[in-house]
Symmetry: C2
Subunit: 229 residues, 2 copies
DNA sequence: CGTTGTGAACTCATTCACAGCT
DNA sequence: AGCTGTGAATGAGTTCACAACG
């Protein structure tokens, strides 16, 4: 298991958003699918994730040449390469704004830190909520955001505020230097180009589900069993 | 259950998953964007949602011819048509299995019923949880699922169980007659073709965010500001 | 052999650009 | 004049199929 040279992997490779999602899925699947010898084939990954084997090979080839023809992919180096490509070969610091029910669930979500994300700050405007403690964190007032965010050097923001407050909150976070937002509010955020947004919109997902079911009625051939978004 | 006449809208139109998501977004945008006279143009919708105007026209044309050339789209009939296409021109009944923190947040989520989805049952296996009341619902034991689900005629299932339990739970729901699943557990569910699955996978979304930020560094041209997906 | 990596073909989605209505 | 609907052009993403290689 000679992590060979793999030196200056010059080509930090950009892939499409959809491809990045598939990479995440391969990452998760690789561990559990690995046959005893620490190897996986494109076929195994393919049906763990629900895509074609050709798709898997194409995706993995784009990440770097890490398969052995006739053999398969070494799980350890494969996952390392995917992590590097996705930018999850490090930890990320995030703050969360809007401490409602959803926020409380997120704070307690273990997978969060298990995947390399550390929640380092909670903020809210409501006086009843500010000062309370959730998990290990004390909720701070929004007024402290800028200063506090400087201190804890978070680069990501999680928005669990009501729709009406979302845009303003996003702007505050961006002004405070955040570079990416995960938005749970049902609105489209307008942010500068250098800020990334991932939206998790439950209402839209519900409608999507209704749509799929609605049609699996009328004609039994809509595809099923895929991820999100 | 005679889905009424529905005059001659012969073409119950099937669209791609991505297109369906955009339709949801137009639906949401239409209300707020409507100029006083109850009309919207493709351009207005386009920049409310963040897609091109041509895209909007293409999408809306596929739903039915409901624009007036030279005028725009009538918000009322537009939203009605989109709702019909998405299958959200009716209410849907859903049960939820796995009453943890996330479930509690979902139960209290108002948008749920506001969008036409009624939560009609909660189930869990843990004796400490069974029998407690959340919102207006009493948590029932999994053992009752089949019978209880028959009674309350739910057609959708929401999975907020731990990853290990997800597949088995999905199977129980499917066996009990559910036709669509919203899966919050970080695993791919294997279900029969006639059952639709929408996955909401936070870990993958987080990695997506990391990826986008990671690269907005290295080259400032990755697209941002889109939904999910 | 078995399995990857990849040109070439193909399919699906998006944009262009303009004819067609109002 | 303004804005939609849509053929045609383009582009992105996926699958085919096979050469390359351990």
């Amino acid at each position: 298991m000679v992590r060979v040279v793999e030196p200056l992997d010059s080509s930090e490779n950009r892939v499409s958003r959809a491809a990045a999602q598939r990479l995440s899925q391969y990452l998760r699947a690789a561990d559990s699918v690995a046959s005893g010898d620490g190897l996986v084939s494109s076929v195994e990954l393919a049906d763990a994730v629900g895509v074609s084997a050709a798709q898997v090979r194409r995706d993995l080839a784009s990440v770097g040449h890490l398969g052995q023809r006739g053999v398969g992919y070494d799980v350890a180096s494969l996952t390392a390469a995917i992590r590097r490509t996705l930018g999850v070969d490090r930890r990320w610091r995030a703050v969360l704004v809007g401490v409602g029910n959803l926020a409380r669930a997120l704070v307690k979500y273990r997978g969060f830190s298990a995947h390399g994300f550390d929640l380092v700050g909670l903020y809210d405007t409501a006086p009843r909520i500010v000062g309370t403690t959730i998990g290990e964190l004390r909720v701070e007032p929004m007024s402290q955001l800028a200063e506090s965010l400087k201190r804890n050097r978070a680069e990501l923001g999680i928005l669990t505020v009501p729709a009406e407050a979302a845009q303003a909150t996003a702007e505050a976070l961006v002004a405070a230097g955040v570079r990416g937002l995960m938005n749970f509010a049902p609105v489209r955020l307008r942010v500068p180009d250098h800020v990334a947004v991932v939206a998790v919109d439950l209402a839209i997902q519900l409608q999507q589900l209704a749509y799929l079911v609605h049609f699996s009625d009328e004609s039994p051939d809509v595809d099923r069993t895929r991820l999100n978004t």
